[in-house]
Symmetry: C2
Subunit: 173 residues, 2 copies
């Protein structure tokens, strides 16, 4: 699938069929994530793939942003360095987000649905998955075969979000 077509056609999918997702497909998505750029090529992302029902339910019940149904959760964590500070944590979140988008675009190209979740309980995930203190959940990507084909939500026009040369100077074609 063409990259611009994937970028524009990807929707956040919140309804999935019961069909499981093959490991082959998941692996293509993990591989896509791995090709994302990272600050200083640190590659501190870690991807925990969850398909077990009870683990997913435990996480979902503590996470307002996760809805019922997705057969796969990928919990994207950062494995922090011992002396990580505020700036490092920002780069981890940016790096994990960029990798998440690679996964979601690849998913769309493969006919899978996805949704990125930021409204989750990091404390709950930390406990449920028994993560070492240095491994911090950054975001969750849900995956599955889509059971909906939603309309794109309204997008702001370019002249509301893009500026030329300075803040507030409207982008003009």
């Amino acid at each position: 699938m063409d990259v611009l077509e994937a970028i524009k056609g990807r929707r956040s999918i919140r309804k999935y069929t019961d069909q499981s997702v093959s490991k082959e497909l998941i692996e293509i998505l993990l591989d896509a994530a791995r090709w994302a750029p990272t600050a200083s090529n640190q590659q501190r992302w870690r991807f925990i793939v969850l398909t077990d029902h009870s683990t997913r339910e435990l996480i979902r019940k503590c996470s307002p942003g996760i809805f019922v149904g997705p057969p796969v959760y990928v919990v994207i964590c950062a494995e922090e360095t011992a002396n990580a500070g505020e700036w490092d944590r920002k780069t981890y979140l940016a790096d994990c987000s960029i990798a998440a988008q690679n996964m979601m675009l690849a998913a769309h190209a493969l006919g899978l649905g996805s949704c990125v979740i930021l409204s989750y309980s990091p404390t709950a995930i930390q406990e449920i998955l028994d993560l070492p203190e240095s491994v911090r959940p950054m975001l969750v990507v849900t995956l599955g075969h889509p059971a909906e084909d939603p309309e794109p939500p309204a997008r702001r026009p370019l002249d509301e979000i893009a500026y030329e040369g300075e803040y507030g100077r409207e982008w003009v074609r």
Copy 2:
């Protein structure tokens, strides 16, 4: 260009030709950014396109991560809500990072080079661009026609970064 090919073929470009980038191409990238998902569809990203040499130089001199040469900087900012808290700021950074990846993949498909910069001075950018206090720089994407075709930096193999069911349980095909 195929989306998986774009994901794997995109490199961070640090050397650019002097050729300017047409507004038509930049607009395709801004439009790609606009199709990124955002938390609660808030679309708080704002994209400030800088091509003016002296503005870019002022920013570069305060930003260790920005190198000499890129003809275009896109400063991706978040327009914060009045009551934005820590969680909101996390979502802004994630949303802006995801949009940045859309831009960089689209750039690669169009034959442009790009690099995402997290090591910049937000204070300097805030002052130089005279941004309102509610508009916060999140990351910078440099753009231009590439003057290099770098080898991909080493990537960690999947078994170092992907786990199945729990942290530390190696992903096996």
